[in-house]
C-alpha cells in the first residue's frame, strides 16, 4: 500500500490534492482513501491531508503516522516545529518539496535523509493558473510518483474541480497544469508494494485520563498578549515591500491591517512587523501612493524578485 501525506497551508489546496490523487487512483482501478486532517486552523495555517492507495480493500483508518511519501507544498513548513512534515517518514521513503532549489540543495539545507524530489510548483501555479493554488499541481506530481496514468489524472482533476468551480477555462488550465507537473517529475524507483502486506495494527496507544475537576482539567491561559510568539510571518506567499520615496505618512496602511502588523518608527514612517505579517497584502491594495509593492517569498527568510 502507498501511504501519502500532503502538507500545505490552508488555501493552498492540500485537501483537494489528496482528493485528486485518490480519485485518479480509483479510476485506475485501485482502492483509495483520501481525507484532510480536521483542525480548527484556517487559510495560511499549516494543514495536512492523506491518501492511501492499494490493490486490496484498505482496512486502515485515520491519520497516517508513517507515510511512504510526503508532499511538502510549502517549503517554510520544513522549519516549522509544530508541523514537522517529515515525521514518521519510512526508511527509503520519498519527499517531494515545492521549491526552486535542486534536490541536493534541499537535502543539505533541511538535513533530509531520504529520497528528495523538487519542483517549484508555486511558480508553475502562478504562471499557468495565475494564482498560488496548488491542489491539482501537487496531485499531478503525486500521481506520477505512484505511477498512475495521465488519463485518470485528467479525469480526476475534472471530476474533483467541477464540484468546486464553475469556470470552465480555469478548469482546463488546471488540467494542463496538473499534466505539466505530472511530466516535469522523474519518478524514483520505489520498493513500495501495492499489495497490502503490513497494516498498522499495533498496541492501542490511547491514554486513559483520570477524572479531574474543571479547575484542573479545563485549559486556562494565565499569560497576556503572547500570540506574537507564534510567528505567523511564515504564512506569507508574498511579502509587502516598502519604498518610502512617495510615502506621505497618511497612516492608511496602519488603519487597514487586520493583524496590527504595521508599526511606526521614530520618524513617523510605517514599517512591517515581518515576524507576524500573514501576507494578506491589504496594505499594498490600500496604499494611495506607490510606497507598497509585493515580492514573492521563497523561503521564510530569503527573498527573490524585485
Amino acid at each position: 500500500m502507498y501511504r501519502l501525506r500532503f502538507h500545505g497551508r490552508g488555501g493552498q489546496g492540500a485537501r483537494v490534492a489528496s482528493k485528486v490523487l485518490g480519485t485518479a487512483a480509483f479510476l485506475d482501478g485501485y482502492y483509495a482513501q483520501d481525507f484532510p486532517l480536521y483542525g480548527a486552523e484556517r487559510r495560511g495555517a499549516p494543514v495536512a491531508a492523506s491518501t492511501r492507495i492499494a490493490e486490496d480493500p484498505i482496512m486502515e483508518r485515520g491519520v497516517i503516522p508513517e507515510p511512504d511519501i510526503v508532499i511538502v507544498m510549502d517549503e517554510t513548513l520544513l522549519q516549522d516545529p509544530l508541523t514537522m512534515p517529515l515525521s514518521g517518514l519510512k526508511p527509503g521513503g520519498i519527499v517531494i518539496i515545492n521549491t526552486t532549489n535542486s534536490p541536493a540543495e534541499a537535502k543539505a539545507e533541511y538535513k533530509i535523509n531520504a529520497n528528495v524530489l523538487t519542483l517549484g510548483i508555486t511558480k508553475i501555479g502562478l504562471d499557468m493558473l495565475g494564482m498560488p493554488i496548488l491542489s491539482t499541481l501537487a496531485g499531478g506530481v503525486a500521481a506520477r510518483i505512484v505511477g498512475l496514468s495521465e488519463d485518470s489524472l485528467t479525469e480526476a482533476v475534472k471530476k474533483v474541480l467541477s464540484s468546486i468551480i464553475t469556470d470552465k477555462k480555469l478548469l482546463d488550465k488546471n488540467v494542463a497544469a496538473a499534466l505539466y507537473c505530472f511530466n516535469a517529475i522523474t519518478p524514483i524507483e520505489t520498493k513500495i508494494e501495492l499489495k497490502t502486506i503490513d497494516t498498522n495494527k499495533k498496541k492501542s496507544t490511547v491514554i486513559s485520563l483520570p477524572f479531574e475537576p474543571a479547575a484542573v482539567s479545563s485549559p486556562a491561559i494565565n499569560a497576556t498578549g503572547n500570540t506574537p510568539l507564534r510567528m505567523t510571518g511564515n504564512w506569507r506567499v508574498f511579502r509587502p515591500a516598502w519604498n518610502y520615496e512617495a510615502c506621505t505618512r497618511c497612516m492608511i496602511c496602519v488603519a487597514r491591517c487586520p493583524d496590527g502588523c504595521i508599526l511606526i518608527n521614530e520618524d513617523g514612517y510605517p514599517y512591517t512587523d515581518y515576524d507576524n505579517c500573514k501576507g494578506c497584502l491589504i496594505c499594498v491594495e490600500e496604499c494611495p501612493t506607490n510606497t507598497l509593492g509585493k515580492v514573492m517569498e521563497v523561503h521564510a527568510k530569503k527573498v527573490i524578485g524585485n
Partner: protein
Amino acid sequence: MAGNGAIKRDGGKGVKDMVMERIKSIKDIPPEENMLPGTPTCAGCGGLLALRHCMKALGRKIVIVNAAGCFTLLTIYPYTPFKNSWLYTAMACAPAGAQGIRDALDILIKKGRLDPDENLKVVVLTGDGSAYDMSLSSTSGAINRNLDFYYICYDNEAYGNTGVQWSGATPFASKTGTTPPGMLSPIGAELAKKDLFAIWNSHKPPYLATISPAHPVDLINKFKKAEQYKGPKLFIALSPCPPGWGIDPSYTVKLAKLAVDTGVWALKEAVFGNLKHTVVPKRFKPVEEYLKVQGRFAHLFKPVRQEGALNKIQEGVDEYWNRHKLLL
C-alpha cells in the same frame, strides 16, 4: 509608537474617564494596540480588522465573553492576543455568561471587595451564527433585562469556523457549503438575510449600531457615543471573509467599502430605538459591482447571467433606501 503598552486615553483611571472626543480622521485613531498579532484567523480576515478597532475604542479594562466561532481561536492554549480577560462559552449563551460576570463584578464592588476603579466592561463577542440564530433568545432576554454590556457581532454571513455553512445572516443567492447552486436551486441560498438590527432595535436598547472594518472612524465614534449609556450597547460589523466569500485576502477592505457604497450595508445607529444613518453614499453604486467580485456570487454571472436574482437583490437594496427616504 504603536503597541508599546502605554494606555494614554484612560490613564488607568476607570471607565467614567474614558468618554473621549469624537475623532475626525484615520490619523486620530488611538495608536495603542489592545489585541496583538499572531492569531490563527485567516490572512485578510475582515472581522479581525473590525475587532482590532473595537478593541482600540474599548480599552483594556474589559472582559470578553466569546461564543464558539472563528474568534474563539484567537485564544488557544497557551496563547492569547489580549491583555484583558476572556471567557469561552457555548454558541447559544454568551449573553447569559455576560450576565453572570456583570452580576459577580457588581456584587464584589458592592461588598467592597473590588475597587470601583477596577470595574470592567463586559463585552460579548460572537459570529453571526450565534447572533442571528443560536443566541437570539438569550440576547433578547439580556436586552430586555437591560443588562449593562456590549455585544459585538462580526457578521461574515455564514458559519465560518466549521467551513462556511448557511446561517440566518447569509444573503439571498449566496453560495455556502449547505446552499450550493445546482440543479435544485441555481441561485444558491433562497432565503433573505434576517434583519438583526431591526430585531434588536424592537427592544429599544440604549445603543445599537452597524459598523464596518472599512470605516474605522465611524466605528470608533460609535463606541465613544455608546459609552455614556448604561445597558445594552450592540454592534453588528459586516465582515468580509476571504475563504467564505471567495475573495483574495487583499480585497477585504475594498469589498467592505463597496458594501457601503452600493447600499448593501447601511451604516446607522439607533438610540433607544431612534434610527439615524451615519454614512450615506452621495451616489449609490450598482449592487452588481459588489456581487461580481465575490466567488460566492459567481454563479449569478457564469455560465449564464441570472437576471432575475440580480434584479431582486438590487430591488431589495433600493426598497430599503426608499423606505428611509435616502435614495437620491
